[in-house]
Amino acid sequence: MSEGSEGKSAFGMRTAEGVVAAVFLTLGAIVIFDSVRLGFGWKEDGPQAGYFPFYLGVIMCVSSLINLVVALVALRAKDKSFVETGQLKLVLSVLLPSAVYVGAIGWTGIYVASALFVAFFMRWLGNYAWWKVAAVSIGNSVVFFLIFEVWFKIPLPKGPLEAFLRLN
């Protein structure tokens, strides 16, 4: 199936289930905490602001506790793999550059960042010739520029290059 799949598990289903259930439990606790701060009872003019969220938090905590118990007890027998190392590498090879990309948008504007992002992918994962990389990545940003800035008049974040070209 995937490239580097020697079937080695990066971490198991039980760990993943446990972590997610624990995160839910924490979130539920946060919701309850803030609802208690706001007040979850009645005032003379009706239910207080925390009235509804309080019960959301309670249900969330109870169901995630059950999920946690199921994950720790019932799944003990057969712990399947949540993600294999090869798969995890592939997923991270998209996720990390995406995070860098989103970080770059604020500095360079969305068009330059997008062109670099597409170029990086094509060169690194696809091993395309440089002229193809340049054509697709720059072409892509130009098309989006035309659609958003020119056609629909929706301004997207721009950076130094657009300022230099006076496209702002």
């Binding site: 199936m1 995937s2 490239e3 289903m13 993943a16 289930e17 997610v20 839910f24 539920g28 946060i30 919701v31 803030d34 609802s35 706001l38 009645w42 009706g46 239910p47 207080q48 602001a49 925390g50 009235y51 509804f52 969220p53 959301l56 938090g57 969330m60 169901s63 995630s64 999920n67 199921v70 949540f82 993600v83 798969q87 592939l90 997923v91 998209v94 996720l95 995406s98 995070a99 990309y101 989103v102 948008i105 969305i110 997008s114 992002f117 597409v118 992918f121 094509m122 994962l125 696809g126 395309y128 697709v136 892509n140 989006f144 958003f148 629909f152 929706i154 301004p155 997207l156 974040p157």
Partner: protein, 502 residues
């Protein structure tokens, strides 16, 4: 027949040159969205929603905008079948069942027949659902005009309890994601008292979480990450459709009339009750296999095995708009996004829509008939083109899709913080999918959270905190009762299974 008259008037609105052009644009965009991994009905519509804002400002513009967006939805429904049959990759969750017989048919060299059968039965399913919408929705809307806050809350309750009772996912996981959705909806200013909730001093959280960001992240980025695990190359069968194949398949299809009817009924029911298109397609595939005389040959490439899930998926996807329009309760994530669109354009979904926005409602319903005809023509003639899109290597298409998602997330509120949130939701979507936490109730809870809460608090105000208000009359009592029954259904069915065993 008031409905017929209104419908004819609706056709008058929908059949302008501009609107028909928008239908073609929407369908083609929709099929492309449906074919591409990571883009689907819900997030495709979510990404394009901000673009329609300027469109909705001119008179009659909201009708054009909803025609464009709903046609993207129809297109995505059609598009899912292409990837299932040719590549054995369901482009949309509701076309998973189509792969069971669609892909074997393609391997046998009958891809054309499989595609024709899929498209035609999609069309039939949608048509049945639109007819149901035409005649049932005015009645439901009229009925719902009498609703007060307790009735509305019991409808919301029913919607969410149906998710717990009817989804394949573990009930406590469904409950947990649902509550997460409601909590995310509660972030920001409390609509009643104006107090800040769950913001913890962050200025970014003042306006709360926008469900469009959640939809783009959960379904878009999450889906890309999942697709990546399967590797980077798609291998697919060749798509050839010519008139001869189409006509031959059409000759064969009427023999499956009973399957079509059954699947349409299953689909319409599952669409109106928020079960959604995905369970509908599986259910109707199962039903068809049980009742067909060739039932044991299912899975080896039976045309009937393509007809059943496609009819049901399309019927459910279309019927999901009925509760959205009449009650303001969407039956599927995509219907939820469309509902968000109505709110952004300044329309109030719900029973009053049928009174105050007649042109909009009937223009939309008429466009459903036309849109599906346009859709059938487009997909039958352009399949090779759409299949070619999937042959674009993943290392090119994946970054472009991520860029599209990022732009879509940014344009919702012009905020880069939203783009970060999209990435976070992407990781959440990836983990939830793998761990069987359902995404649909999460999205619906974010969309409906505020409305559900305010109807609950209004009911509580009326009754002075007395919960029996939800059983105060026959209507609200039976809605609440049904909701509680569905909520308890996982336990009941467990008990039944235990009893049978012993």
């Amino acid at each position: 027949m008031d409905e017929i008259q209104s419908l004819i008037q609706g056709f008058g609105i929908a059949l302008t040159l501009k609107n028909v052009a928008l239908m073609f644009t929407g369908i083609i965009l929709g099929v492309i969205i449906g074919v591409l991994p990571g883009l689907g009905g819900a997030n495709g519509v979510a990404i394009l929603l901000p673009l329609t804002f300027s469109m909705s400002q001119v008179p009659g513009g909201t009708t054009s905008a909803i025609i464009l967006l709903s046609c993207i939805y129809w297109g995505a429904l059609f598009g899912g079948a292409i990837t299932s049959i040719l590549f054995n990759i369901p482009g949309e969750p509701w076309s998973v069942a189509t792969t069971f017989d669609g892909y074997p048919l393609a391997q046998k060299g009958r891809a054309g027949a499989a595609l024709t059968a899929a498209f035609t039965s999609s069309f039939v399913g949608a048509l049945v659902a639109v007819i149901v919408i035409t005649f049932l929705s005015p009645l439901v809307a009229k009925f719902a005009l009498e609703f007060g806050p307790p009735e509305f809350f019991s409808v919301y309750l029913l919607t969410f309890c149906a998710f717990v009772g009817m989804s394949k996912e573990p009930p406590f996981k469904t409950l947990a994601t649902m509550m997460l959705g409601f909590s995310l909806a509660a972030v920001g200013t409390d609509p009643v008292t104006g107090e800040l909730r769950l913001t913890f001093g962050s200025t970014h959280l003042l306006t709360g979480f926008d469900f469009l960001i959640a939809v783009i992240g959960l379904f878009g980025i999450g889906e890309i990450l999942l697709t990546l695990e399967e590797g980077l190359a798609f291998k697919g069968a060749q798509a050839k459709i010519n008139l001869k194949v189409v006509l031959e398949t059409w000759k064969e299809l009427p023999t499956y009339w009973l399957t079509s009817i059954r699947s349409s009924v299953v689909g319409c029911f599952m669409g109106i009750v928020p079960g959604g298109a995905t369970p509908a397609s599986f259910m109707s595939y199962g039903v068809a296999r049980r009742f067909s005389k060739d039932g044991d040959k299912f899975g080896t490439g039976m045309v009937e095995g393509v007809v059943a899930p496609e009819t049901a998926a399309h019927a459910a996807g279309t019927a999901a708009l009925l509760p959205m329009l009449t009650l303001g309760v969407p039956g599927s994530p995509t219907a939820a996004v469309l509902l968000g669109g109505l709110l952004i354009w300044g329309l109030q979904p719900g029973p009053l829509l049928f009174v105050e926005q007649k042109d909009f409602v009937w223009g939309l319903i008429a466009s459903m008939y036309l849109g599906n005809i346009v859709g059938l023509i487009v997909v039958l003639t352009c399949v090779p083109f759409f299949a070619a899109i999937l042959r674009v290597p993943f290392s090119v298409i994946a970054p472009i899709i991520i860029v599209i998602c990022a732009i879509g997330a940014y344009t919702v509120h012009n905020s880069i913080f939203d783009v970060w949130m999209m990435l976070v939701f992407g990781v959440v979507g990836y983990a939830f999918k793998k761990l069987q936490y359902p995404l649909a109730p999460l999205v619906l809870a974010i969309v409906l959270g505020d409305r559900a809460e305010s109807s609950f608090r209004q009911s509580m105000l009326v009754s002075q905190g007395d919960m029996t208000v939800f059983f105060s009359n026959a209507l609200v009592g039976s809605l609440t009762g049904l909701a509680l029954f569905l909520l308890a259904w996982p336990l009941i069915s467990l008990a039944i299974a235990r009893l049978r065993q012993s």
